[in-house]
């Protein structure tokens, strides 16, 4: 009889990397569906192009670099999908393609591939696209909102916060919540994002800490500081939380395993600081929206947080006096 021999443990939690990534994809489905519902076919095309290019870029890189091809772990698919959801529906298809390729090739693979990138690939790509093609990525882009099928053309800026010049904030909280606003494909419908969040929590894919602390931090800081156009008030704070990419970023991007800290306390600090940076950018910066840069900045700080906010180790700090 031939028996296998190995060191313990002899069993594993059935949850694998692939399964986790699939869970993230599933959690993104309501958001993607809402985006396609509001923005129509262009949104669908962008999502498909960005997903396909991300997976293709990963495949090509791994082939050329003679690495084992790991597109099956679905991590490239997640990156592509998140990038697509970060684009305004009016963006041309090649924007999605360049963004995905940049995310996978430059941000992810050049730094060592899955697990070794120090920035969230989709977010870094979005930042690059914002800087390179502001016209396609920001407020000058128009799109026909399928929601207003009556024929009303609506401004699809990156975020409603861009209408800084408007004397009054144009959207009600309910509109913001349901997603009847301009914005990137994935960030508009908060209901869908919350559904995804619930799914991620129930499957144990992510913990509540980062999203809740980050949103809470945005709320509290806006309540204290206000925004460029609005005074500090409860209504403003709620509007701030529901505007732009705060919820989407909190649930799907700040929680990226690779680029967020690991211990609960470090995660809390990380999420809290993201919230603060968002509000500071929104209040004092020239950009209407700060989520991308806030998360990217804290991505960079993640190794520091992990290093300087370690957990207590059993039997170490509590030296007993004899």
């Amino acid at each position: 009889m031939s028996l296998r021999i190995s060191t313990a443990p002899h069993m594993h939690n059935p949850l694998t990397t692939q399964r986790l990534m699939q869970y993230v994809c599933i959690a993104l489905l309501p958001t993607a569906a809402a985006g396609v519902y509001y923005f129509g076919m262009p949104a669908l095309t962008l999502l498909l192009v960005s997903m396909a290019s991300a997976v293709a870029a990963e495949f090509l890189w791994q082939k050329i670099a003679r690495q084992p091809v790991r597109i099956g772990d679905c991590s490239a698919l997640v990156t592509g999908l998140i990038l697509g959801l970060n684009l305004p529906a009016s963006a041309p298809w090649w924007i999605a393609m360049i963004g995905s390729a940049f995310a996978i090739l430059i941000v992810k693979q050049l730094f060592g591939g899955l697990g070794d990138n120090f920035l969230n690939p989709a977010l870094a790509a979005r930042a690059v696209l914002l800087a390179s093609w502001p016209a396609h990525m920001a407020s000058s882009a128009f799109v026909k909102l399928s929601f207003y099928r009556a024929g009303l053309d609506t401004l699809s800026s990156a975020t409603p916060l861009a209408s800084a010049a408007a004397p009054e904030y144009p959207y009600s909280l309910l509109q913001l919540f349901l997603g009847q606003t301009p914005g990137a494909i994935g960030e508009v419908c908060k209901v869908a994002i919350l559904l995804g969040f619930l799914f991620l929590l129930l499957t144990g894919t992510i913990q509540w800490r980062i999203p809740v602390v980050m949103v809470g931090s945005v709320f509290v800081w806006t309540l204290l500081l206000g925004t460029k156009m609005l005074d500090a008030s409860l209504n403003t704070a709620l509007t701030a939380v529901l505007s732009g990419g705060v919820l989407f970023g909190a649930v799907f991007m700040a929680t990226d395993y690779v680029t967020s800290p690991i211990t609960p306390f470090a995660q809390t600090v990380y999420a809290f600081l993201i919230g603060l940076i968002i509000v500071v950018i929104r209040k004092f910066g020239i950009y209407p929206e700060g989520v991308t840069y806030a998360i990217l900045l804290m991505n960079i700080a993640t190794p520091l947080l992990d290093r300087f906010l370690p957990q207590k180790i059993y039997g170490h700090l509590k030296k007993e006096a004899k």
Binding site: I5, M11, S260, I262, K318
Partner: protein, 482 residues
């Protein structure tokens, strides 16, 4: 009563009653095979030396292996009959060990026993020698000689004896059955040790997935001086020595130290029952309860003689239910793989879990995605993912800086890892390497010190060997013993 626990940890097979379902409600039954192979190396420390030869007749309880020094225990015949051979067999770890094979004549004649009687009246000074003579080692898995555990260095004090009835390992129900069927014996053993060490407090910790055991033990502890039952949360590794101490006393064992540094001694329930047998009846440790489960037709809790061969045990359980891929001695989280089914059971074999071919296939590692599940699992509070990076580069200095030596090898991180990284095996490798390196350094220093004294080389060799085994023991002792 309030349920206590430690920080972090995992819940393996939580939805399947921790894998204990198939054997949980099966009453222990005795099985005696016609041949036993009794290993001389059933304890951490020096193996015993065989003192019988081929053709000798032995009675049950007769010493067949003499202890070699303090860090060693005697080995006794577990059946009566004729010694068939004294030779070497593969050990459960690496290398070979001496073993005595006895053909059972089923006459069940015992050697003359020297019972000490009621544990409440016995001379406290007689308890530890009785334990030593009975060949008792930790029966939860770590096989540390019990009399060594109960003998402290000067200046160390003990105020609590903790009895480990957590049985947090998956699939195993041996301790559970013992607590149900021999509750009074466990309390007797605990009382004997409490009296021997003059300790006023004895706590029996039991996970709350065993309410029947908690009830049975509470009943048995009624009216017994200083003995109490502490329900514990069902969480792995609740039965790890350090975790148990943290849960029950709120204290921590200092890094690199032993439980006694937290003024605690931890004994397994099986060890306590064996102590009661040794003290009350004068019986040496010749049998134990062992859970046989997994890919066998009729899973069971068996009372087995030490040295019963796995093949016979599996046969008693109706044979394999599918082609076996792995035979694990112990539970699925910390058990050791048997190289074949001729392996005899040891004093510490609390379970034999057979894995089918598919379950036993090893998985490929994929890149770490920094999900933090290992950190959230680690009962010690280590960063397994960082240590693994160092281990992969054979950077032992960094691994040590990241406190790999505090790792108890419980396997929680490796169980949780979605990338199937070989965390625990790497850490075991690191720990072994660092220990060996430290030993080599110490040996080299010693050699330098004794340079010139060439005629002393013989005794020096012996000394370093003894030290080696003692080091090995204290290193292992820190590990999760359950």
């Amino acid at each position: 009563m309030q349920t206590k626990t430690f920080r972090r940890g995992i819940h393996p097979l939580h939805h399947m009653h921790e894998g204990k379902g198939p054997t949980r409600d099966l009453k222990t039954r005795e099985y005696v095979s016609d041949t036993v192979v009794i290993s001389m190396a059933m304890n951490i420390g020096a193996p015993a030396k065989p003192c019988v030869k081929k053709g000798d007749h032995v009675d049950i309880g007769q010493v067949i292996g003499e202890a070699q020094g303090f860090m060693s225990v005697p080995v006794h015949a577990s059946v009566s009959g004729e010694v068939v051979s004294v030779d070497s067999i593969p050990s459960l770890g690496a290398g070979n060990v001496q073993a005595v094979t006895i053909k059972n004549d089923f006459s069940d004649t015992w050697v003359e026993l020297h019972p000490l009687g009621n544990v409440e009246k016995v001379d406290p000074k007689a308890v530890i020698p009785a334990i030593q003579a009975a060949g008792i080692t930790g029966m939860g898995g770590a096989s540390f000689p019990t009399h060594v555990k109960l003998t402290f260095q000067a200046g160390k004090t003990c105020d609590t004896i903790i009895v480990n009835g957590a049985e947090c390992e998956t699939h195993l129900t041996a301790d559970f059955r013992l607590m149900l069927e021999h509750s009074t014996r466990i309390v007797d053993g605990l009382r004997a040790v409490m009296r021997a060490l003059n300790v006023k407090k004895g706590v029996i910790g039991i996970e709350d997935n065993k309410p029947e055991a908690i009830e049975a033990m509470q009943k048995a502890a009624q009216g017994r001086e200083g003995v109490s039952i502490q329900p514990l949360k069902t969480k792995y590794p609740q039965g790890g020595e350090k975790q148990l101490i943290e849960a029950i006393t709120g204290r921590q064992v200092p890094s690199g130290g032993l439980p006694i540094d937290a003024h605690v001694v931890v004994l397994n329930v099986g060890t306590c029952a064996a102590i009661a047998d040794a003290v009350i009846d004068g019986k040496p440790l010749i049998s134990r309860i062992c859970t046989v489960t997994g890919a066998v037709r009729k899973p069971a809790n068996l009372l087995l003689r030490i040295g019963t061969i796995t093949e016979d045990v599996i046969g008693e359980c109706g044979g394999y239910s599918e082609t076996p891929g792995k035979i694990v001695f112990g539970g699925m989280m910390t058990g050791i793989c048997a190289p074949n089914d001729q392996m005899p059971i040891f004093k510490s074999t609390n379970g034999i879990v057979v894995l089918g071919d598919k379950e036993s296939r090893s998985k490929d590692e994929s890149p770490c995605i920094h999900c933090g599940r290992c950190v959230a699992a680690c009962p010690i509070g280590l960063n397994p993912y960082q240590i693994k990076v160092a281990a992969d580069k054979s950077d032992f200095a960094t691994a040590e800086k990241l406190h790999v030596m505090d790792c108890i090898l419980c396997g929680s991180c490796a169980y949780q890892c979605p990338s199937r990284r070989w965390l625990t095996p790497s850490f075991k490798f690191c720990k072994d390497h660092i220990t060996a390196e430290a030993k080599a350094k110490a040996a080299a220093a010693k050699e330098r010190a004794s340079a010139g004294l060439s005629n002393a080389s013989d005794s020096k060799d012996k000394g370093s060997k003894e030290k080696q085994s003692a080091d090995h023991a204290s290193n292992k002792e820190g590990g999760a013993n359950k």
